[in-house]
Structures are given as C-alpha cells and as structure tokens.
C-alpha cells in the first residue's frame, strides 16, 4: 500500500461520485485487516508507528468516501476544483431566498411546537437532497463531468445539511 494513493485508489474504486457501497465496505474491511495495529503487536516501535499511520489513513479514507457530501468535496479537490465553501457567498438569489424561507419556517414551527410541520419539512428536504445527489452523479461522473456545476451543487447540499440539523435540533428540543 502507498500513502500517496488517493482514497479511491486505496480501495480500488473508480474515481466517481457513484460508488458501489458494498465494494467500499468490503475494501475497507480488507484494508483494515491488513493494517490493524494488533496484527503488528510483535513488531518494533517504528513498524508499529507505520501501521498506526496506515490505520488512520484507511479510517479517514473510509469516513470520507462513505458520506456523499464529503465524497463529493474530496472528488472536487482531486479534480482541482475549488468548491468555495469558505469563500463563495454568491449563491443564486432564488436559492438563498428559499433558504431564508426554510429557516423562517423552521423557527416558526419550533416556536409553535409544530412537530408535524417540522417532520413534513424534513421529508421535503430529504427529497431535495436526493435530487441534488442525483445531479452530482452526472456532474462528478467519469464522462461529461462538470466541476463548476458540481461545486455549486455541493454548496447547495451544505445549506440543506445545515437545515436538516436545524430541524432535527428543533424536533429533539420539542421531544423533551
């Protein structure tokens, strides 16, 4: 194994957004079995350190590829596209207006204790999230890929994720 390898190569997966989840799980287990520190218990300290480094690398790779949003961001970085997560504040006005309305809706439902409203919003958001992920399949595929469009989708997904957290927080607060 080679520490310079990207995460997809490490697990023998094609460098695309759509991945075979079972293949990822299997490859992760195989890698883990190879690098698990216990396997190297009889080795000297330097060798143990190396195997520790490997175990960390494999875990990080797995965590990154398992989560669609992290996987998409990682793919963008491999393809040299800056997703502008920290710097790009100019989303489409209609999208931002919609975000504003969502946030208002969540706030009102939270204050009004309206659980079914919150659950309904969560369902609509989940649907929206699925649509955006489907868009990423093409934008981050191996043919006709479009890095800039993918970066925009990734930024949208980050807002969606934030909203989902807000809704879940509200639901949790109302349960107590």
């Amino acid at each position: 194994m080679d520490l310079q390898q990207d995460y997809f190569a490490l697990f023998g997966l094609p460098q695309t957004f759509d991945i075979d989840r079972e293949q990822l799980e299997q490859a992760y287990r195989d890698c883990q079995a190879q690098v698990h520190p216990d396997r190297h218990a009889h080795r000297n300290d330097a060798e143990k350190r190396v195997s520790m480094q490997w175990a960390t690398h494999v875990n990080e790779a797995y965590r990154t590829l398992r989560k669609p949003l992290l996987r998409a961001r990682y793919l963008l970085s491999l393809r040299g596209v800056d997703a502008g997560i920290e710097t790009n504040t100019a989303m489409a006005p209609a999208f931002l207006m919609e975000q504003m309305e969502w946030r208002e809706g969540v706030e009102e439902a939270r204050e009004g204790g309206d659980v079914s409203d919150l659950e309904h919003m969560r369902q609509r958001l989940d649907l929206h999230e699925r649509e955006l992920r489907q868009a990423l399949s093409g934008q981050l595929g191996d043919t006709a890929a479009d890095g800039e469009a993918a970066a925009d989708t990734v930024r949208r997904l980050m807002f969606i994720e934030k909203l989902q957290i807000e809704i879940d927080d509200a639901l949790e607060a109302l349960e107590d």
Binding site: E86, L96, Q99, V154
Partner: protein
Amino acid sequence: MAYSDKVLDHYENPRNVGAFGKDESGVGTGMVGAPACGDVMKLQIKVNGQGVIEDAKFKTYGCGSAIASSSLVTEWVKGKSLDEALEIKNTAIAEELALPPVKIHCSILAEDAIKAAVADYRKHQETKGE
C-alpha cells in the same frame, strides 16, 4: 467559544432588524450565504435622492458572529454614499467585533452582503433609467 462583549451586545440587541416594504423606492437588496456554516444573510439599503444610504435593514440566520456582523454594518452604512459603503472591509468588521479566526467568514459574509445590496440598487437604477 466566548463571544466578545461587542458581539454579545449586537446579538442581544440587534440594530435595524427587518425589511423595507416591497413598494418602497430606492431600496437595494443583497442576499448572500456561507456554505461552510449554512448562514444566510439579507441586507437592504435605502438610498435617498442624493445617493446617500439613509437607512438599512437586515435579517440573518446564523451564529452570533454573523448576526453581530450584519447588525454592525447596517449601522456603518447609514449616512454613507454607495462608494463609501463599498469601502467597508471585512477586516474592519472583524476587528471591531474582535472575531476569532474561525468566525472571519461571518465578516466576509457581511462585506459581500453590502456589495450585493449596492449592486442590486444600481441594477434597479439602470433599468429605471432606460
């Protein structure tokens, strides 16, 4: 993380929260968002016949620093010309509020909101002039 006193002050007593009426003239609206934290900010300026910003309003969904940054800039832009407003830099906002490095993006958001509001106002003026 501890907020500075100035952030807390703006957070607890935000200035100029709200929006101008849809029919009001001389209004420019800037909408910006920060993907990293999901914050959304709407900043509106109301410009008088002399090209001076006479009022500003905001609505922000985000952390205390984002709310404080937008509250602060609504105070700062008042009485300024559009060009003067565009000179407001995020570093000045961050410094005034003593924002820690991880919250610098909140001040960037506020600076970009001013730019977006001015651009929106100018766009409307152009279409009116045609």
